[in-house]
């Protein structure tokens, strides 16, 4: 029998880490809101960019890692890979949902619309829908092995949209601005201070992802252990001479 309460209690190092990420989040907000210069065309609205772009990049990472852990589960069949996939999937949905809401908040004052069904936004909406589907699928299947396998396939399909999403602003006519920084660090078309603030915000968003992920994995491990314990209790034969069910 596992001691769920003890295993769910956050250790000191995790509480410290989450506290540090919270302080860094406040610092990142201060950099974006106070220290960043105003943009020539967008004015103070550029300060939304730090919140929106950093979260969007981490959403991509989270969805991508969900597919990686899902693929590992399909390959090795180890429960811990499924636990990691679920945790990252939850983060992916969290950050992707935040990306859409933040994007709408950014889009209304700059482009005069909350939403338009262009390639970039539609692909992001599809990604969010697939991540919602990932959790619906998991909720519908009781068998943990089948649940892990089917949801891993959904995660891989969701991740398959990431390259198209990343390049959509270049490939298609879209209201969404083209990227200002390429993945290899080239093609920088923004002020050095703004880039530094954006990168700092992205690092902090990544640290928050990691902290939440660790917290969620610990919960997932206890859930998995309890599920296995329940399954063993069901399959074990009832003790002879003992009443099993009293009506």
């Amino acid at each position: 029998m596992i001691d769920a309460a003890a295993r769910l209690r956050r250790p000191l190092w995790l509480r410290t880490y989450l506290g540090i990420t919270l302080l860094l989040f406040l610092a990142a907000a201060a950099f974006g809101l106070v220290f960043s210069p105003r943009d020539v065309t967008q004015g103070d609205l550029i300060r939304i960019m730090y919140a929106h772009v950093s979260v969007a990049w981490i959403a991509f990472v989270a969805v991508g890692l969900t597919a990686v852990f899902g693929a590992l589960y399909l390959w090795r069949g180890q429960r811990r890979d499924d636990v990691l996939a679920v945790a990252s999937g939850e983060m992916g949905l969290f950050f992707a949902g935040l990306t859409i809401i933040g994007g709408m908040t950014y889009s209304r004052p700059t482009l005069n619309t909350f939403w338009t069904w262009d390639a970039k936004l539609t692909l992001t909406a599809i990604m969010v829908a697939l991540m919602v589907g990932y959790f619906i699928v998991r909720g519908l299947i009781d068998d943990p092995v089948r649940r892990g396998r089917v949801s891993a396939v959904v995660a891989i399909v969701a991740a398959a949209s990431l390259p198209f999403n990343y390049l959509a602003a270049e490939w298609f006519r879209t209201l969404h601005p083209a990227k200002s920084v390429a993945l290899d660090g080239s093609g920088v078309t923004m002020d050095g201070t703004m880039l530094a603030v954006l990168l700092f915000n992205t690092v902090v968003a990544g640290m928050i992802y990691l902290g939440f992920m660790i917290d969620r994995v610990r919960l997932g491990r206890v859930e998995a252990a309890l599920e296995e314990e329940r399954a063993q209790a069901v399959t074990q034969p009832a003790p002879v001479g003992k009443e099993v069910v009293r009506v």
């Binding site: 769920a4 769910l8 103070d44 939304i48 919140a51 908040t105 004052p109 859930e223 009293r246």
Partner: protein, 55 residues
């Protein structure tokens, strides 16, 4: 409705979304932990009763 909003109103809303999301996810995880413990405690009571151990 939104035309009269200043740039700083939008900026504030965008950053508040992050603050709410941070706090919201922490609250969600906390709720999940409490629910898991409550469900587990209830299951153990039922199992003990079923095994004849009493409540």
């Amino acid at each position: 409705m939104f035309d009269g909003w200043t740039q700083w109103t939008w900026v504030t809303i965008a950053w508040l979304e992050l603050v709410l999301a941070y706090g919201g996810y922490q609250a969600y995880l906390s709720w999940r932990r409490r629910k898991l413990l409550a469900d587990d405690a209830a299951r153990r009571i039922i199992e003990r009763q079923a095994a004849g151990g009493g409540a």
